[in-house]
Symmetry: C2
Subunit: 217 residues, 2 copies
């Protein structure tokens, strides 16, 4: 019940990510609850990555929430197959997103995707790798699928995966073999062919999975 109260408070107030929440004692008085209760609620959201507390400074908002926000905490063991398990989940989401994009992408969406593809190809030919540009390309596809949940879920999963193998040194040519498939994926979406989009996405992810397997051995 207090959870909901604070969720409404954040949703109502126009706090942006990075902003500082009112001090505990202020919020406490404003919501007419004890400090322990408020602190427990804050800890709850801290655990969910919504808020971050810095001792002596304040607690800061990381992600906007509202009472309608859904939270899906995942417990994954870092030992060995955790990464591959994440990849399987990602595969399910990514394939569906590509198929939906093939069905629903507007002309403007296609134009945006193609521009991302072109810059990615250019950077790749120059550097031999194009991590951020690859991400941009895929993000534009998530946007084009017409369902914001895919973008939210997949970008967060990519973040976690990134941190998961940020510790281990990544080869510079990681998943570079998947490069040519990106154009084919775009063409499948542009042709409004969901089945082809599924297949091309699977090809890309298969290569990524192979490289992960090579890496963790």
């Amino acid at each position: 019940m207090v959870m909901r109260a604070v969720a409404e408070y954040i949703g109502r107030s126009d706090l942006q990510p990075g902003d500082c929440l009112p001090a505990e004692r202020v919020l406490m008085a404003e919501l007419s609850v004890g400090r322990s209760t408020l602190r427990e609620v804050i800890r709850h959201w801290q655990a969910l990555g919504v808020v971050e507390s810095r001792r002596g400074s304040g607690t800061y908002l990381l992600r906007r929430i509202s009472p309608e926000t859904m939270h899906l905490p995942l417990v994954v063991n870092t030992g060995g197959n955790g990464l591959l398990q994440m990849m399987e989940v990602r595969r399910g989401l990514e394939v569906e997103a590509s198929a939906l994009a093939a069905i629903r992408a507007s002309a403007a969406d296609l134009e945006l995707i193609e521009s991302k593809l072109l810059t990615m190809e250019a950077v790749f030919r120059e550097n031999g790798c194009a991590g951020p540009e690859d991400l941009e390309f895929h993000l534009s596809i998530y946007d084009a699928c017409g369902n914001p949940l895919f973008g939210q879920l997949l970008s967060q999963m990519r973040e976690s995966v990134q941190t998961l193998f940020a510790m281990s040194r990544v080869r510079t040519d990681f998943a570079s073999r998947s490069f040519p498939f990106h154009r084919e994926l775009f063409e499948a979406i542009a042709a409004k062919d969901p089945d082809a989009a599924r297949a091309k996405t699977l090809s890309i992810l298969a290569i990524v999975e192979e490289d992960i397997k090579d890496m963790i051995t």
Copy 2:
């Protein structure tokens, strides 16, 4: 720091999911920390779905953890037509889980799935509907896919969906047309045919989506 202490405590003690943790006042003394601090740590894990607290009874372990397990909470903002958007995400996950189950299900898994199917069919023939038994059937498939993340995500999504249209009166025959497809899905998994499993899962979810569309109009 206290987090780690309690994580080690759980990892060291052989508590199984469903077991009851020591009372707060006991743990407090055992770890030499104040009660508020301990309660905040418990709230932290409550948020991550690791433990569940029942007032007057105790706090119970839901998932085994250790200091090596990683927690990555996903935060999703469901907007206006959140139900249909969630169904699309669920479709991607569920299809992948069914296909993986078809590939990896052991003989024991298949036996369990079939038993769930049989009780579900029996209850359905008697009552005309079988909500909890249907859930059990699908959960057994998630287990059989060999990747616990699918079970975590999908069961939590089902929870949210459940609460989302718990307010609106649900027809007793909701998604009852999907009933015959459940046996076909099981047979596809038993035949180790991932493509057929995909197709049957899509058939089931298509009916659910149709009924949702009818309902929210």
